[in-house]
Symmetry: C2
Subunit: 408 residues, 2 copies
């Protein structure tokens, strides 16, 4: 298993393209992307649990749950196509239709994704022109994949892509992906938009199961601001071009794939968290010694979503009471009097609380640890052997600036 | 029922005092307060559900649950006496003991409250000196009550006190209170510290029931930052000095008292929310047309705690999709396609969403409404006849400034 260059075009047979359709007139950034596989793909997907679902979420659920096969994804940033009623649903279908026509495939082979402002209708003339431009630009180059990762960004400050390679029966298999997400990030199932491509040959059922299981430990453990978006979508397409014998059961090959998928997802999640709106640091919260994974997850998410803990990371100020407080109000079992807390980063590791009471730790060293751009808080709750990790970021002035005036 | 001047000393027989004990050396503010009644009081209390409970919370639970009678409260700001182990518990008892000695009453008649930094031990010499100074300063003046409300403040920008007067069988009855709370406010039972005094004659059982019921619609509906403190406490003391016939059943007199208590609590809650750390505006979220009060509460708290909605209020920027999004991820029933949304403030009222889709509303007018210092968001979910209101505030740069560097 090794990490390789590239993202959605790293796996064999996948092409990507991006254009500036001008959806947000004030922006000079590319704002549409397309991903395409010449061979039909088994497709898996996970979607937001928000009851307010954007039109493309409803469309993709139909494709993933009913059709189970797809060849293309078309995505725009700038407008989310959420809270747009029947007209929004019609526009979404028109996006699929225009893409299908441009690529010469069936409308039901096209997945659609939108991200941006909620409550506005898509500018369909620009979207349709964009689609016409995208189709002839499709390329297998790694750069085309990279540019697609840029085109789907909204308030993200950097594109997020990664790929892993491994072997099955002598055949090279690649899993690569890209995602976007910076604000409104608290996936209750997945993050805003994630697209993962692989050339593995695997049954659609196992593909979906691998994705559904893995997001519980990855995308579902990310929180930037506690807001679960209306558009959260992770799509996973497998086009079989690696040429391995089809995987139809949970054998060693399946678990190799699961490991690669997990590596891709963890990388993307850490990048979403670290690039949270206004963030200066990735905050990783690891609970060890829990009675169950469920308990560890509840505790880690409680700490990673605490505004006061997040502000403390921003200030590099060791106020460990806030962490104890956030553990204490999590809705799960806890004996505060047995908790040990640690800070860890590239600067070192330090025990700050022992059995629920602050140790006589070196404040200066604590500040040094908390000043790194990736900080881990570890809580040992001493109740068992289970653990979980959640990812978030600090709460900064820039988060407020970005969101107090997002639309302008 | 009328609103009158004063706070904890408005009711007959209650005295208060405040001093600067120097708990936070850098501060010149008063930091200790005492409330005292010459006659023993029936006492009721509600406390944080955080599993990390400060020592004074444990002490007060003992007094309220086991003793049910008290005469004094002693309170310090600066140090929370939470996460302080056995030593913290000993110190808390010493505070009660010193107060009992100074007042010539039993230790079990003294309630204790602390607020401030978690994880630090109390400076007991300063605390004990403070208590000795407080006792002789006790006064029935309204000003003494006001000064006590100032002394318990931490990051609050203004003291919070109120009193109501009504009659029972020709006897004048007063309910007055003070509270503090600005950050770490998301009471899962009550807010950080609230002290309510009344001269009514009522059984302890009904006093506790009146408080326990009312906080569900008042203190439990306030959120500044989603963090449930380790110290949340509301205490209600009734010293019988109004001279009314004792209330032992839920008759008309009881409901008059409940109404006065509710008015006091709503006033205090709105003030806590509007004075949230860094806040420039009170955000009130009212859900109408719900199937049940429970559903209305879940929906209103989901909106009032949304970082993106809070930042939008700060920016006076009508981004109604964020409100729809927060309604959608609340863990309760909702049909997004029937939701109507309104903004309301002193500047006017405006429908911004009808049946789940934004109306063609006047943006300029929306901004005007959102620019007031008290803003109400109303959602009609058209499923029934129930309603609920939650109180919070906007998310601002100052919230980050205050909390990124709270201890220094």
């Amino acid at each position: 298993m090794k990490k390789i260059d590239g993202g959605v075009t790293a796996a064999k047979g996948f092409k990507a393209a991006s254009v500036r359709a001008g959806i947000k007139e004030s922006s000079t950034k590319t704002d549409m992307a397309m991903v395409y596989s010449e061979s039909p793909c088994a497709v898996a997907g996970t979607f937001t649990k928000n009851k307010v679902k954007a039109a493309p979420v409803k469309w993709d659920q139909h494709i993933v749950y009913d059709c189970k096969v797809a060849q293309a994804v078309v995505c725009n940033s700038g407008v989310a196509n959420a809270c747009t009623g029947k007209q929004g649903m019609d526009y979404c279908e028109q996006m699929a239709d225009a893409t299908a026509e441009a690529l010469g495939i069936a409308k039901e082979s096209v997945l659609v994704a939108s991200t941006g402002v909620i409550g506005a209708q898509l500018p369909m003339d620009k979207i349709c022109n964009g689609i016409k431009e995208l189709a002839p630009k499709l390329s297998e180059d790694l750069e085309a994949g990279h540019d697609a990762a840029v085109a789907i960004m909204t308030t993200d400050t950097r594109p997020k892509e990664v790929a892993y390679e491994f072997e099955i029966g002598g055949k090279k298999v690649v899993v690569g992906g890209m995602c976007k997400g910076s604000g409104m990030i608290h996936p209750n199932m997945c993050t805003m938009l994630g697209f993962i491509t692989t050339d593995i040959n695997i049954s659609q059922e196992l593909l979906q199961e691998a994705l559904s299981e893995d997001i519980k430990d990855t995308f579902n453990m990310v929180s930037v601001d506690g807001d679960t978006s209306t558009n959260d979508t992770v799509l996973l397409m497998a086009n079989k071009e690696a040429g391995n014998e089809i995987i139809t059961e949970k054998n060693d090959d399946y678990y190799k794939f699961v490991e690669a998928l997990h590596n891709v997802n963890v990388f993307l999640c850490r990048n979403i968290a670290g690039d949270g709106e206004g963030a200066t640091a990735l905050l990783e919260v690891k609970i060890v010694g829990a009675k169950s994974t469920e308990q560890a997850k509840i505790l880690s998410k409680s700490v990673v979503t605490s505004s006061l803990v997040k502000a403390m990371i921003c200030g590099h100020d060791s106020n460990c009471g806030r962490i104890m407080c956030a553990l204490g109000y999590a809705e799960t079992e806890l004996d505060p009097d047995t908790v040990d807390l640690f800070y860890e980063s590239n600067a070192g590791k330090l025990k700050i609380v022992e059995n629920g009471v602050p140790t006589d730790y070196d404040e200066e060293f604590a500040t040094k640890i908390l000043s790194e751009c990736e900080v881990t808080v570890i809580a040992d709750v001493k109740m068992g052997e289970c653990e979980a990790t959640a990812w978030g970021c600090d709460l900064t002035h820039d988060y407020v600036s970005i969101n107090a005036d997002y639309r302008s």
